[in-house]
């Protein structure tokens, strides 16, 4: 017996958009089963996880806070993935962006000025961009696989952060805690509301999603992104540079991840800590796919994945579910999106049962 995947003629447009919905439904179902194995009432657990956070104004704001980095990174990754470049190291670019921006914040600590925050944002974006430049250069110059290089550089970035907060950037008055000084008000993201943590980063997220949407749908550069990803030979025919696209897509996604990093550090966190991300850079990969690599879709996907973080915290408090359940949920969701996408493009064909001709007598 052999199991083959056979391409369907043309996958239906409706199904391509339904795919994430189906994946979400199956994920909830499997999640329910997981909860019942943990001895919890599945419906109640799912309620705590996915509905309760939506019933409370503070948590709705938190949803936006968590979605902000996911969307910023996710739209960048969409461009990357559309062009067939696989930046898996957004987490590292996020961290380097956070570090670079923080360095500006700490350099001008105690000073006031409207220019500090924009400078931090630029430094953050540059930090992420430079960290993405390495895998881009390796790919363009040596044909090194960017999946591996960008992923490995993530761990390098995490070590650099750890070193800095324990060494050069540690707050001298911080009782030896591994953390930097709290940023001064001029180096902190303005809040959008009173009494919440929703900050200017959310605006960046929406603006970047719209900007990338225009880039992809209206400009020749966006056309180049799509053609490069879908038909590399046609891209060569159109005179688009393959290496140019490697740099463009990786640097763009790196810069957006870096911007997300400094927005997070200068926003909800307010100082540099040994850990500044609960895996936003990785979760954003799921966001990009769930949002169909469509910048507007990414906004919704970002909100949904943000919900898994908040629901996870909720469940930890109310149901004593381990925090790792969030990661499990995200993993199950990615698994089912990829499975749904595959089954929408291909049908499973089981062949090879003997292979004898079926004779039906004479007629």
């Amino acid at each position: 017996m052999r199991i083959d995947l056979e391409a369907r003629g043309r996958p239906s447009v409706l199904m391509i958009w339904l795919s994430p919905v189906i994946a979400i439904v199956i994920t909830l179902f499997v999640g329910g089963i997981m909860f019942s194995f943990m001895g919890l009432e599945p419906l109640n657990a799912l309620y705590v996880y996915f509905v309760q956070p939506l019933t409370n104004a503070y948590q709705l704001q938190e949803l936006v806070v968590k979605a902000t980095p996911l969307i910023l990174i996710g739209v960048g990754l969409s461009v990357c993935f559309l062009s067939n470049n696989w930046n898996i190291g957004a987490e590292g670019q996020f961290v380097m962006g956070g570090i670079a921006g923080s360095w500006v914040a700490l350099t001008f600590h105690g000073m006031e000025g409207f220019w500090i925050l924009p400078l931090m944002m630029i430094a953050g974006a540059l930090g992420g961009l430079l960290w993405a430049l390495l895998p881009a250069f390796f790919k363009a110059r040596f044909n090194a696989n960017e999946i591996l290089t960008s992923l490995m550089l993530t761990y390098v970035a995490l070590q650099i952060l750890d070193y800095l907060v324990r060494g050069p950037l540690r707050d001298p008055d911080g009782f030896n805690f591994p953390e930097s000084k709290l940023f001064s008000p001029s180096a902190t993201m303005p809040l959008l509301t009173d009494g919440g943590r929703m900050h200017l980063g959310a605006v960046f997220a929406v603006i970047s999603a719209i900007a990338i949407a225009i880039l992809l749908w209206r400009t020749i550069k966006g056309f180049e992104v799509k053609v490069s990803g879908e038909a590399p030979r046609a891209a060569r025919f159109a005179g688009f540079s393959e290496k140019g696209m490697v740099y463009f897509s990786l640097l763009l996604s790196g810069a957006l991840a870096g911007l997300a990093g400094i927005s997070e550090v200068a926003g909800p966190i307010g100082q540099l800590l040994p850990v500044i991300s609960p895996g936003y850079g990785f979760t954003a990969i799921i966001v990009a796919f769930l949002g169909r690599l469509n910048p507007i879709g990414v906004i919704f996907a970002g909100l949904l994945l943000a919900l898994t973080y908040i629901g996870g915290e909720n469940a930890q408090i109310l149901l004593q579910v381990p925090g790792d359940a969030t990661g499990v949920f995200q993993g199950i969701l990615l698994f089912f999106i990829l499975a749904c996408d595959t089954l929408i493009k291909y049908r499973v064909k089981i062949t090879g049962f003997g292979g004898k001709p079926v004779a039906e007598g004479e007629s």
């Binding site: 020749i220 053609v227 060569r236 159109a238 007629s363």
Partner: protein, 527 residues
Amino acid sequence: MATAKKTKTKKAPKEASIPLLEARDITKAFGSLYANDHVNLSIKPGEIHALLGENGAGKSTLVKMMYGVLQPTSGQMFWNGNHVIIQNPAQARDLGIGMVFQHFSLFEALTVAENISLAMTGERSLADIAGEVVEVSNSYGLPLEPDRAVHSLSVGERQRIEIVRCLLQHPRLLVMDEPTSVLTPQEADKLFVTLERLSGEGVAILYISHRLEEVKRLCSAATILRMGKNVAECDPRKETPASLARMMVGEDIAEIKASSRKSGAVRFSIENLSRKSDDMFGVDLDNVTMSVRAGQILGIAGIAGNGQEELFALISGEQVAPESSVIEIDEKTVTALGINARRQLGVAFVPEERMGHGAVPHLVLSENTLLSTHAIGLHVKSGMIDRGETGRFSSDVVERFDVRVPRPDPVAGNLSGGNLQKFMVGREISLEPGVLIVNQPTWGVDAGAAATIRQAIVDLAEQGSAIVVISQDLDEIFEVCDSVSVISDGRLSPAVSTGDIDYEGIGLLMGGMGASSEKEGTDSHAH
């Protein structure tokens, strides 16, 4: 159904009343499109039966159902008068149906015997298979060395592997899809001897070809399809190529109007172009030199895989040519320039491969125009795409070149090969280029579309453009070109006026000019 070995009859009754294979009322629907609509076909043992039709007439669909690759929506197949449902190719092979595809599925790095053993069912030693390969291939005049690696073989020899692979299964029906499209005239002649021999042994052959001369010479029966329906059955020996074409197309094919062109100054030239291929199995170009004058059409004949792809990449600038060569456009040296810079000098290019090279299947036609127009400043204003302009441009091309579209501005992948080709050629010709380079302008295109495309090329030359047509199709070369060079193993022969050379002469050049490119040994001059 153990094997057909024992049941293989050396002397099949010449006039068997029961057809070997009969397809009755076969319908195959893809959504609302009927690729086959109540098609009937019956083949007698020992018959060489032609299946004719334009591209998209439903030939491949019908053949795929016979070979178990597709299942009919309705209708029945009969094998020796027994109703059969052919579920997969393995089952078709067990019945005794062998198929030689147009595109080979061979592993370049493996030997002939290894490639054949991959297709064989059951446990057999490689030595055993190699022995049988030698035996079968020699007895049918298809000499093969089992230990040669496939990448070192010519296209004709590769086709032999596919044929021998089928013969080892002792088929009673052999389906051949455009087998001579990759052969020189001399190689094709040898193939016909083999096919006639098989037919004499009672093997039925279903022969798909668009070369009607060949069909008339070889086949004793023909089934003609048009738009998925049977339109005629005939004995091709009693028809003329023109009458066969009329049945296929349903109307007379427009003759190309000869033009009274005068050649002017040299508009495009290449000198001393040599380049080692980056691909291990690619072809190294060796000292290619050519020049084309205004109003002139130069044909580059040759069997696929002799360096045409590599040459096109360098001519177009998709790949930058080495500094030792000189490429000039209107007397301006462009050797180091990329494809867009060359476009800006008024050159247009049509690559061979439609899907994924000359067009992006998932993008609509108006977006596909951008592939070649963005570089010359059309349709793009400060980085933004002008969708109104691309839409107008592509609908002009659609109208002017009679591209049949299922709906306004469809995705390229929804067009048939012929229509997409008309679109691609039309897109470039609409730019009124001073130099046009076309690789296989009518490859896999139906007769009507081919006539449209060839006429457009001739008309462009009349306006004073210089044109290079790279083509495997000798009929095409003789129809449109003023002069012809032959590419063989990466070398280009000097151009000869098409009036001064015939098929035979070109065929000999295709076989190789020097001793090193002589791949076939002594028997290539057998007849």
